[in-house]
């Protein structure tokens, strides 16, 4: 399925149409509600999904995701539920790429071999692990690639030119650019200098660039979309879900994702 991701980004570049990757927190506020949110996002035109699996000590996450993941864990979410979610989404007919976003220890305890096998079997496309350093990618990319799964590297504003080159050389379908030196969380304004930094970066990279952390609304997404291959929205969407009664989550998520997709297509 990693080929699908690669093709998707190639097409997006040709059509100059940035992609939208929303984040859904597994089991928040319940398994069913998160499944509905995921379906609504995909139905509204999300290009792919990040399925966040809660970890007890999420060091890269701000208050919004901490609360959501903590709540989900308290209510019994298990790591293996993510495979059930992928299966449920595939059964419902959604074809977009599905990426597992979590922390390294959960994959480590599940076992890399088993993880890759389960992901591949259920129809997942890859993993995003913020605490897996680039240095360790060579240990796991061969296994993932053998199952046609992607492992997504991060780059940050503090990354040295050397590390950026290293990330670019992984042959990943895209790089996850952390827009701020900081943790996840919705922010009122985009970090100053982000757009300029992205333009410079984009020129130097072979691999498509997707921007996450701190993008909160359709307008910001559109701005970033002008200089990146894709946009991730996590905290803002989780915040929205936290404020919505369960019966309306589907509609609210669908509407929000639809607005972002439109904003990305309008320029």
């Amino acid at each position: 399925m990693s080929f699908q991701l690669q093709r998707m980004f190639q097409t997006a570049r040709l059509q100059r149409r940035p992609l939208f990757l929303p984040y859904i927190c597994l089991g928040y506020p319940s398994y069913q509600a998160s499944l509905q949110a995921a379906q609504a996002a995909l139905a509204a035109g999300a290009s792919a999904l990040e399925l966040g699996v809660p970890f007890s000590d999420p060091i890269a996450d701000g208050p919004t995701l901490q609360k959501a993941t903590h709540y989900s864990l308290q209510h019994g979410t298990k790591f293996a539920d993510v495979f059930r979610m992928i299966q449920d989404l595939r059964r419902a007919g959604f074809r977009q790429p599905l990426l597992v976003m979590s922390y390294l220890n959960l994959v480590e305890q599940f076992g890399w071999e088993d993880f890759a096998a389960a992901l591949s079997k259920t129809g997942g496309d890859g993993a995003i692990l913020p605490d897996l350093p680039l240095e360790k990618f060579p240990l796991f990319t061969p296994l993932m690639r053998s199952k046609n799964l992607a492992l997504i590297p991060f780059i940050a504003p503090t990354s040295s030119p050397q590390r950026i080159k290293m990330a670019d050389a992984q042959g990943a379908p895209f790089l996850y650019y952390v827009s701020v030196t900081g943790v996840t969380g919705a922010r009122k304004t985009l970090p100053s200098g982000l757009l300029r930094a992205l333009r410079t970066l984009g020129d130097r990279l072979e691999t498509p660039l997707v921007v996450g952390f701190g993008i909160s609304n359709p307008a910001q997404a559109a701005q970033v979309g002008k200089v990146a291959d894709g946009v991730i929205i996590a905290s803002a969407l989780v915040q929205l879900i936290s404020k919505t009664p369960v019966s309306k989550i589907s509609g609210v998520v669908g509407r929000f994702c639809g607005q972002v997709v439109n904003a990305l297509h309008e320029f």
Binding site: A60, L73, N105, W112, R163, V178, V183
Partner: protein
């Protein structure tokens, strides 16, 4: 991690390797934003370590501010009572601020100054490391912010006040289990956010490389002194070293200078809380599995999924659910062994030291003392045990009062 290189021939004293591994343990499992900061820290430390001026400065503050060397006290009464090995106590309780924590803080604040960092952050559980950090920040006039779990802020109000008196800002952390591990997660989040201006002063041999190495190097003065002192006082090396272990900084500080003395046994004592067969303990080596917590691969208390477990110990300073990577490696290679002592046993040792030696040990250190008292009668009278008395017990008197208050009678032991 399954894939890391193993080199059984590697001399433990030469570890970690350049990537920060002790065998498979250690490493740098942190968000990309921090990778450059860790490299910068590693480079700054490598230079400082080789710089005689830095070492002189560190030694100066250890001697003239902290009060080192700390004594190695022969516990003659306890030795007589136990009818076995000769017990020596390495008196880290006599450091300024009352525990070994300050050794590391002095080293790291000097490093932070060299790096030009103007803001210091730290995590703390019981508050001992927080107080030590606030102390060195006051000494050097640097801004200090300490992260402490909400639950610990409540339990350790006096230490919170102490930190504030020293000019530090204390942030109560309300995420997760609201204890030390969450304080550390929050400190890491702050560091991710303010990495360009801020120095993260970690208090134990936990966290990503180079921290476990830096903290060890700044604590190894404990073992260096103890080794000289025991040779002078007893004319030979000890048979065993005993220290309490959680993150493991006081233990590695004592052990490290003896690593090459193969005849010296090393025993780490973990907090067994209500007992390792219950759910309420902090015995990471006994009940944990290798995993990744706070940027380092080592033994971790966790559930089947890999979610980090809650811990319990009577001693607030022993409730981290992980352990330093070097200890994991010393255990795997059988250079050190790890056992545990329960809350009840620590309380016994606390009272024994008070009555026999006139020393109130920290409850953390009482875990080590208990195990040494258990070992001593089984050893010959010629044997020598060194117990690391990592801190003093004044801070724990309230806890002990709660547990013993009504049962305690005065009089001879």
């Amino acid at each position: 991690m399954r894939s890391s290189r193993r080199n059984p021939a590697a001399e433990p004293a030469h570890l970690p390797d350049p990537e920060g591994f002790f065998g498979p343990y250690g490493g740098q499992y942190v968000p990309e934003t921090l990778m450059v900061a860790l490299r910068e820290l590693g480079e700054a430390y490598t230079k400082a370590r080789r710089d005689p001026r830095f070492q002189r400065e560190f030694q100066y503050y250890l001697a003239e501010y902290d009060g080192r060397p700390t004594p190695l006290t022969f516990a003659s009464n306890l030795t007589r009572a136990l009818k076995g090995a000769r017990l020596y106590l390495k008196r880290e309780d006599l450091n300024h601020t009352g525990a070994h924590k300050i050794n590391n803080c002095l080293g790291q604040i000097l490093l932070a100054r060299r790096m030009g960092k103007k803001r210091i952050i730290a995590e703390t559980g019981a508050g001992q490391h927080g107080v030590a950090t606030a102390t060195v920040c006051a000494l050097f006039g640097v801004k200090c912010e300490v992260f402490m779990g909400e639950e610990d802020v409540r339990r350790q109000a006096l230490n919170v006040f102490r930190m504030r008196l020293l000019g530090a800002q204390v942030h109560a952390v309300s995420s997760g289990t609201r204890t030390l591990k969450d304080a550390m997660s929050e400190a890491i989040r702050d560091w991710v956010t303010n990495v360009r201006t801020t120095y993260y002063l970690i208090g134990s041999t936990a966290g990503p490389h180079p921290y476990p190495m830096i903290v060890r190097d700044f604590q190894k003065v404990i073992g260096e002194e103890a080794r000289r002192q025991v040779l002078r006082q007893a004319g030979r090396l000890p048979d065993a070293l005993v220290a309490c272990v959680n993150g493991g900084s006081n233990a590695i500080g004592l052990f490290y200078p003896f690593l090459k003395d193969r005849q010296v046994r090393m025993v780490g004592v973990e907090a067994a809380g209500d007992g390792v067969k219950t759910k309420r303990h902090a015995a990471t080596m006994a009940k944990g599995k290798p995993g990744i917590l706070h940027g380092s691969y080592s033994y971790v208390l966790q559930d089947k999924d890999g979610q980090i477990a809650e811990t319990h110990s009577i001693s607030a300073g022993l409730d981290y659910p992980g352990v330093g990577p070097e200890h994991a490696w010393l255990r795997d290679t059988k250079r050190a062994s790890y056992v545990s002592a329960t809350d009840q046993q620590a309380l016994e040792a606390f009272q024994a030291l008070a009555r026999h030696e006139g020393i109130l040990p920290a409850l953390e250190s009482a875990h080590a003392a208990y195990h040494a008292m258990k070992m001593a009668p089984r050893l010959s009278k010629k044997s020598i045990l060194i117990v690391n008395l990592s801190g003093r017990g004044d801070k724990d008197v309230n806890t002990v009062l709660e547990r013993l208050g009504s049962k305690l009678k005065g009089g001879a032991p």
